[in-house]
Symmetry: C2
Subunit: 229 residues, 2 copies
DNA sequence: GCGTGTATTTAGATACGTCTAACTGAAAAG
DNA sequence: CTTTTCAGTTAGACGTATCTAAATACACGC
């Protein structure tokens, strides 16, 4: 049996592989999980012993297929829980992350199945992130780019909101910035502010760190259902 | 913060106080939780340090008011979860115990509130056990006695089914023995078998250890709603 | 190609929850 | 009142996950 901590490490490594270049460095893992480098070292040793990661000393780690499967399982749990909490228990989509972060390690396969069934096998969670299938096939992220990378006048559709700060998410949700919403980049000010105009005519100003967390794509290409919101 | 283990000990002590005479002996706790006596000793020391139990060396422990509150909180979580899994996720009432046993330690107060609201603040769980209120007032068990203690011809109502073996519960549920059902004691055989006749005319034979686990009362006195089933 | 600085690992400690083995207190039997 | 028995506690150990402090490897700049 894997501990909740091990699952957290595998999930973190999975994300870091996606976002950067494998192998993933010890210190990067340590930073992500908010532990010291020696802690990360000792953990990746354990994961390597169990053949969940391939480890090259002083270089870093990459997930083995088994490690990847575990990570996908945890991510599936997380995203199913977020969807469930939002749709069935009336949580605001901005406040589900914390709860899912804990419960993802403690639900049974039976629970996973029943929640998926109750939600009719959803494909994306309330943040707009794809939910791994029951078979845990590798997920291809719906291609999208950061709002911050687009120039004035561009017409865009919000694919995901990557932010993890509940307060910021609540604010964004409140002003109407959430997955599935269309917007136009109104102004990119050189002081680190992006202003967008929403469908409803409202304009919203966002600092760079938020504009980085909002992932967008052209309203034209519709990869699959993003109609949850 | 209390660990899941500490909560388990407090819950166990709570039940043992109810079922027997306080103070609760170390070895009884050890037996209940399936650990060795030294383990139980070291744990009750920790609980005493935190003033969750009153401890008299070589005698045993009794819960302090704070300890009792924690125990009730955990029991509330457990029973709300059992009810939720049964009513909202379609679990069979015989298979919810394991899942609730784990999740009870990991849900937030927010989750507890939302589940209670979704279920319309239920007062009993699917086993027929009362759910502690949000205020965690001490629960008075709905008075009931063991089916095994009643003679032939007695007309009874099933209040609770205390068994924890999922296979036995599934069987009992299958043959129609569940909380809220009425029955008549047909025969008490001296070989350790009780035979009962249900509403629907069916008869069911139950060995003593099952007849001990089924709690009954007279169909007349209706303490409060037992209409969940 | 060598030194220096940063990343990484090793060493040793702590807290938790558990164990086995050894010891001790309390209480019943004589 | 002493002995015996057994429940309960103490002692010492282990595995997990973490830390700080010290040692070491790698890689870049000169």
């Amino acid at each position: 049996m894997l501990s909740a901590k091990m699952e957290d490490y595998l999930k973190a490594i999975y994300r870091l592989e996606r976002d950067g270049e494998p192998p993933v460095a010890t210190s990067t893992i340590a930073d992500t999980l908010d532990v010291t480098p020696p802690t990360a070292t000792s953990m990746v040793e354990k994961l390597a012993d169990r053949e969940l990661v391939e480890r090259e000393k002083y270089k870093g780690v990459t997930l083995t297929p088994e490690g990847k499967t575990v990570a996908l399982e945890v991510i599936r749990h997380h995203r199913l829980l977020e969807t469930f909490l939002t749709e069935e228990l009336g949580y605001d989509w901005s406040e589900v992350h914390e709860e899912a972060e804990i419960l993802e390690h403690h639900i049974s396969e039976e629970f996973e199945r029943r929640v998926a069934a109750a939600l009719d096998d959803p494909e994306v969670d309330p943040h707009g992130d794809p939910i791994p299938s029951d078979a845990l096939d590798p997920i291809d992220d719906i291609p999208a780019s950061a709002l911050a990378d687009h120039g004035e006048g561009t017409h865009l559709l919000v694919a995901r909101v990557r932010d993890r700060d509940p307060e910021e998410l609540t604010y964004l949700d409140g002003v109407g910035v959430r997955p599935g919403v269309e917007l136009v980049v109104e102004e990119v000010a050189p002081i680190g502010i992006v202003t967008v105009r929403l469908n409803n005519g409202e304009t919203v100003s966002l600092p760079d760190h938020i504009a980085d967390a909002i992932q967008v794509r052209s309203p034209g290409d519709a990869p699959e259902e993003v109609s949850e919101a």
